[in-house]
Subunit: 232 residues, 2 copies
DNA sequence: CGGGCAGTTGACCCCGCTCAAGCGCGGTGG
DNA sequence: CCACCGCGCTTGAGCGGGGTCAACTGCCCG
């Protein structure tokens, strides 16, 4: 975790419309004021219930956000990828973090101090509107997630999660999903037991829908997976 | 559904900090421009997937927001009560409604045209900040809901829902919860089958935790219900 | 009086969770 | 270099929570 100001904000601007809303001058200030770190796989950036000091911007890597149940089991709420910000919910509503942020793939992360971020929102209405849209999109996703977990069975949910991962992270040159999760993490995402994920992945493989190689997953039949996820 | 401009915005201001952020002048314009309706129990204000023309403000009554699963089953996401706004997610992110809004108790509702609401957000940074806080709070609630549905069993969830209803709607003079839902609606809220809700309510009653009288529910032992909901 | 809907109860059974055992592999230390 | 350990993965067995189906009741309303 070296504490440098290496990351060019431009990298994030490329990925995220959010930053197109702020002026050249604001960018300069932001670049000066932000605080960059790199985190290794497994590092925790902040924990559920803790107070955080600013909004994080992910320059590269993957971060998972999860809540921990009473029995200690992780429920993954969402992922962040390059160019995305996180932690803004706690800062803007002035609450403690409601999830833990843990690094899935080595990440380069910038911290924008809370006061500065809040000022940006207050003084730049375009930026404020972008933040609103962002939280509204997350809210829409969360609502859909609630419906899925409440009403779909595990098989349907797993198919849907695989498609969501495909949509969000794409595939590498070999055609594998560009995110490599343990079976346990997949279970925490689907909201089921690890063993159930293993059995169902094995079924999907048997049916020729996917190819498995350690943590690499290749989707062979998107249409069929879609059908399964929709309970057709 | 008489189309009048009867409702005094002041009623909503009393209930909701949101409107304290807008100026006297903005209030006058709002009062002039808004469009009021009353809806009967069971009326649908808008449906999932439809485009809505503005943001709704609930003057009085109760509205439920639900999504419909592939098999037609309602999953209730949240309720709105007097003074609260809804529909802002669709307007601000310029998407179709992601839930259906249905009247649970006769409601008086004002419609604020989309353009006017957006302008308000764009020109009044205090108001914008309030909207951000609102959506962030809803987002936090939704995340908690995901954890609960994914990891708690039906008994724990039902206990939690009863406590949430108590917190949000309070009790009337007889000590009953101030919201009267069918068993089916309760099931749609908990994310389970109607029969399961009935059996568990009956268990709670047998254990002296609640009193049932038709759709009226009285909570007798909040502490014990809390324990059940937390899996202690 | 009859139809329909909400509520209730019982019977059944299947999905998926838990527990346990075994396997493969990579890292560590003797 | 090998032995050992631990972690992630896999598979099987068992069972219980809770979903589904069906029948019945009570109540409201036409």
């Amino acid at each position: 975790m070296d504490n440098l100001k290496l990351n060019t904000c431009e990298t994030c601007f490329v990925h995220n419309d959010l930053f197109r809303k702020i002026t050249k001058e604001e960018i300069d200030i932001l670049s000066y004021i932000k605080n960059c770190n790199t985190y290794d796989k497994g590092d925790i950036i902040y924990s559920e219930g803790s107070r955080i000091s600013g909004v994080y911007c992910l320059n590269s890597g993957i971060v998972k956000h999860y809540k921990t149940g009473n029995d200690g089991k992780e429920q993954i709420i969402r992922f962040s990828k390059a160019g995305e910000i996180f932690g803004y919910r706690s800062i803007l509503s002035n609450e403690v973090a409601c999830t833990t942020a843990k690094v899935v793939e080595e990440s380069s992360v910038c911290l924008i101090p809370a006061a500065h971020f809040t000022t940006l929102v207050n003084t730049n209405s375009n930026f404020a509107m972008s933040i609103i849209k962002l939280s509204c999109r997350e809210l829409g996703d969360a609502n859909q997630y609630i419906l899925d977990i409440a009403q779909k069975n595990v098989r349907e949910r797993l198919a849907e999660i695989l498609l969501l991962l495909h949509e969000n992270f794409g595939i590498n040159k070999d055609g594998d999903l560009n995110i490599f999760l343990t079976r346990e993490e997949l279970a925490g995402l689907v909201g089921t037991a690890t063993e159930s994920v293993i059995r169902l992945l094995s079924d999907f493989k048997k049916d020729g829908l996917i190819v498995l190689n350690k943590r690499k997953i290749k989707l062979l039949n998107l249409k069929k997976l879609k059908h399964i996820s929709q309970n057709f």
